[in-house]
Amino acid sequence: MLKKLLVIFLLTTTLFAQEYEEENRYALGEGIQAGSLPLYVGGYFSIDYRNKDSRSRYRIDDLAFLAYGNYEKFSYMAELEFKEFYTLSETDTGDTTEQDTSLHIERLYIDYNFNENYMLRVGKYNSQIGFWNLLPINVLRDTTSNPVSTYKIFPKFTTGLYGSYTSYNDGELKVDTMIQHNDDLDENYNNYVIDEHYALGVTYSKEELDLKLNIGMFDTYMPDNTTQNLYYFLASMKYETEEYQIMSEIGTQKSKENFTTEYAGYLQGVYRLNYKNAVILRLESYNDKFSRIQDEMVIFGYTYRPIYPVAIKAEYQLHSLEKENQFLFSLSVLF
């Protein structure tokens, strides 16, 4: 019911907003204001192609709508998404198609800013862990694929409270905490089904360098339907200039007794040939003790952005597990 109401709200406001398009001089990737209301609407989509083991897969992956705004010390964000909306895959028996028309709540939260230093959030949000998970959508990331560490180590989404303290001086220091002690707002839209998540993060930024540490614990359902507490640690760094960006995240995850993922990490370099073209090299490695899979990979990528909110990407992945070698191509747009 909540999702239906949100869809009606988003569609109505989008139509309302279109009447004001000319006045607001809409530009792709910036969203549009609904009249003079504290409401901006936008969205994004992504289509992709994969060739793995000589088999092709075509997908309309993401189709999402955003609505956000602020009023005095409050701000809000709503994001609804069709995930893997349409998939056409080649199999041994011929082509198969799948459609998932369920609409997921990706983010839905309200922020309250006490002052320049303190902020409190209530709702479902991207877990504020590492750097990749803060901007996880295809059009904003550098490659079509996500590093393994970004979906093996920690829950990508948290439903509950988020609080942060930030100090803005020569360097910027941020300390934040996440608390979930309830069900996920949309448990089908998360990499782990969780009902508890407690985490702490510290970020320090100065000029081109950002450093971040995260630790946390979450309670999740295992394949045998039992629940288990899992503990994780992630260290991240990002160095970014006008021409290039170097980013790395490495983490580990364990239960009370054993490592579930001994390590998972990546080191990625992005070199911008110019405003429109970038080449990417990513080295990745992980050791998943739970599923007993260990893999190393090298990923070569190329991204062309005719304008920034439109990304056309190609990448090739070379794995130590050779059957995982694959080619990916995608088109994604933020509007």
Binding site: E30, Y68, N113, N115, E116, L135, T166, Y168, E172
Partner: protein, 136 residues
């Protein structure tokens, strides 16, 4: 040799005369700000100073004063800022509003408590407070 020294000194004087000075300005109720705070306000990492709501003001996107502000204070190019604000759209943040001229920034600041903008130093009048200065 004397001629060479004289030539060098003249060049330095000419360059100095050509250098432009700029200021980040507010009304008289503000304290001096650090570069970190100015960056945080203009990049919309925060919209508050203490409990006060802040309204950062930009000049139009290709204005020379704005380009100098972005290069010397924010340390970001036009294209990098474009990608920054695209990412901020996904995060639910909007760029500062743009004003047509330095004069309109001055008028806005006088009328709206919490407004902050930038302009050439020579255009700052006595009703505005300079919270930060930079040169080309």
């Amino acid at each position: 040799m004397k001629l060479l020294i004289l030539l060098c000194m003249s060049t330095l004087v000419i360059l100095q005369l050509q250098a432009k000075d700029y200021a980040v300005v507010t009304n008289k109720n503000f304290n001096t700000l650090s570069v970190g705070q100015i960056k945080a306000l203009f990049l919309k990492k925060t919209s508050f100073l203490g409990n006060k709501s802040i309204v950062p003001l930009n000049l139009s996107s290709r204005n020379a004063v704005r380009l100098s502000f972005e290069k010397k204070v924010l340390h970001m190019s036009f294209s990098r800022l474009k990608s920054y604000w695209t990412k901020q759209h996904y995060l639910g943040h909007r760029p500062p509003i743009s004003m047509k001229s330095q004069e309109s920034i001055g008028v806005f600041i006088k009328k709206v408590d919490g407004a902050i903008g930038y302009m050439e130093l020579k255009k700052v009048d006595s009703s505005l407070k300079i919270v930060y200065k930079w040169s080309d």
